[in-house]
């Protein structure tokens, strides 16, 4: 036990959920249970997502799910930039600048994600390794995939059952496997052993892959002397492939990598073991979502229905990812430890460093990493008036 600083001087209270003596607070610093919620809801606290406790777990939120290290007060900026980007893409379409609109749709999320990785400094010790192995490998495999697909797809101009099977089922599964390659390169590295590392690598790889699949896969469209078509259809198509498709790919890939990281690195305390949010279920759901969309891609001819299908799939995958990550964060951590005081990046209270912030309940592993180390001395100084 490392009760070493002011945290140890607080009157400790017994947590009714894990039984440990923990500093007073709304949440247990050890197990994350919500101490002032009623007992049924407290332990798994589905009303307070472990990486962003101001939101319930079962909400298909994009930024708090895919950008988990971002503190609450910074999320709105990324959300605003994302929304503004979508508006700009629609404007480019309206001006019939279809090539620019397609490229913008392809790079919007990847650029935001790379900025996020820089902003939260989570991987500042090895940025090239992390970005290269995940985003870089994903992007390279995306180009390869886009070049190979036309060889595999049977060039018949009418839809057949065979073409749905190959291009819908087979290619969708292959794409999902390729998006996992980059993260797997980092699986055995001990310095990246947290569930949120797995999530981040999965998202980063999927966004790199999706970006180059769009640009390389549509290259012949971008370079064709075509100008016509309905502007609305083009906007909907870019929304479906570039934005919603990126959300789906990021969420399904992170779903598998998050569950895989928890399984392989074995940091769970066994408190929330259940098959329905384990690795098998996560992988099954990810592939099912991808394959269903792969088949729908061949069958749906009306663009609006495709957008709706992709939006539903993105919501399902995001919520599933949150369920897996929420349980993983509540489970993660080896022993009860009450560390020195530090500022919680989420709520800005000066609290003992534990697995969870006693005030807002955020998993401290979801903080930008500098918080846990760099801010401790400054915080202690400020806390003493």
């Amino acid at each position: 036990m490392s009760d070493m600083n002011s945290g140890a001087q607080l009157p400790l209270e017994a947590c009714p959920h894990c039984g440990e003596l923990v500093p007073p607070g709304r949440f247990c610093g050890n197990c994350g249970a919500h101490l002032i919620a009623d007992a049924d809801a407290a332990r798994a606290r589905y009303h307070a997502y472990a990486a962003g406790p101001h939101e319930p777990v079962l909400r298909p939120a994009i930024v708090t799910t895919l950008f988990p290290h971002l503190p609450h007060r910074h999320t709105h900026l990324f959300r605003d930039v994302l929304a503004a980007g979508v508006v700009v893409i629609a404007l480019l379409c309206a001006l019939r600048l279809f090539t620019s609109a397609t490229v913008a749709a392809a790079v919007l999320l990847p650029v935001l994600y790379l900025l996020y990785l820089y902003e939260v400094e989570v991987y500042e010790r090895a940025p090239l390794l992390v970005v290269g192995a995940t985003f870089g490998v994903g992007a390279a495999l995306g180009v390869a995939y886009a070049l190979v697909v036309p060889v595999v797809v049977h060039p018949s101009v009418v839809v057949t059952a065979g073409s749905v099977l190959v291009s819908g089922v087979l290619l969708a599964a292959v794409a999902q496997l390729l998006m996992l390659v980059g993260p797997l390169l980092l699986l055995r590295r001990v310095e990246f052993d947290e569930t949120l590392d797995g999530l981040t690598f999965g998202v980063s790889s999927a966004l790199g892959f999706t970006m180059t699949v769009i640009i390389a896969g549509y290259w012949h469209v971008l370079t064709s002397p075509l100008s016509g078509g309905s502007v609305v259809d083009v906007i909907l198509g870019l929304l479906q492939i570039g934005i919603l498709g990126a959300f789906v790919n990021a969420a399904t890939t992170a779903l598998i990598t998050s569950a895989l990281w928890l399984r392989v690195h074995g940091h769970d305390r066994g408190r929330f073991h259940a098959a329905w949010h384990g690795l098998g279920a996560a992988a099954l759901l990810a592939f099912v979502v991808q394959i269903v969309l792969g088949v729908l891609q061949r069958v749906l001819t009306i663009e609006v229905s495709a957008v709706i299908a992709w939006a539903v799939a993105a919501a399902v995958a995001l919520v599933a990812l949150r369920v897996v990550v929420h349980h993983a964060l509540l489970d993660e951590g080896a022993e009860r430890a009450i560390g020195p005081d530090s500022v919680c990046a989420e709520c800005h209270h000066v609290v003992p460093t534990m697995l969870f912030c006693p005030v807002c309940g955020v998993a401290r592993s979801a903080a930008p990493k500098r918080m846990s180390a760099a801010s401790a001395p400054a915080a202690t100084a400020e806390a003493a008036p």
């Binding site: 007073p24 549509y218 078509g229």
Partner: protein, 231 residues
Amino acid sequence: MSYAPPPTPFAALPYPVAPPLRSAATRRRLSPLLLVLVAVAAIAVVVVIITVAASAARPAAPTHCVYACAPPKTGQRLVSSTSYNNQHWGYTVDYDSTVFQVAQQDTDSVTLGTNGVTAAVVKAMSATSPASAVQATINNLNTSVLQNIQDKNAIPGAEVGEIPGAGEYLTATLVTSQGGTPVALQVMAATQGSMTIVVELVDSPAQGNTVSGIQNTSLDYVLSELIWPGS
């Protein structure tokens, strides 16, 4: 559970709030303005570079051309002409066997291919309006092979085997093992007596990159020399 939840009201928690902007927790690596500027600049640079590259890779713009500038009908039968006769409906399709092969056939239709790629589909059905037959065919195009399908315009004076009907001119990108190629699609239908024939022509990738009008005289031949039953 024998413990009562600790009744700790929020205000009574013994944790001070860090002064804003002084702690590491509130400091941002990128200010909001800088973050937006970097995002906009990065996206703009990539968009401009790729757009310029795509424009440079575009084939020289063809002289603008609509359906009317397709080659004139060939006046005589080709030397290497081969006939496909549909037993069920009785129509006959003449085609240049040095260019096309029968890729697929069933009771109603025949598909002519060139180098493994569909070039023409001729399909007979019970009489219906040519326009609805055209639309049904367009709705059934394989969007994984034909990307970016764009309905350009109706074909004025569309004919199938010299029977007037309806037609639609579309452009698309045909995705094959050789990559994507812009193609022109013509879907035409005509009705005579109790049957409607739909002809779907895909200008083959070997015919070059232009997308305006069917360039391939062999395809034009298939369409214009189609023989209706009893004629």
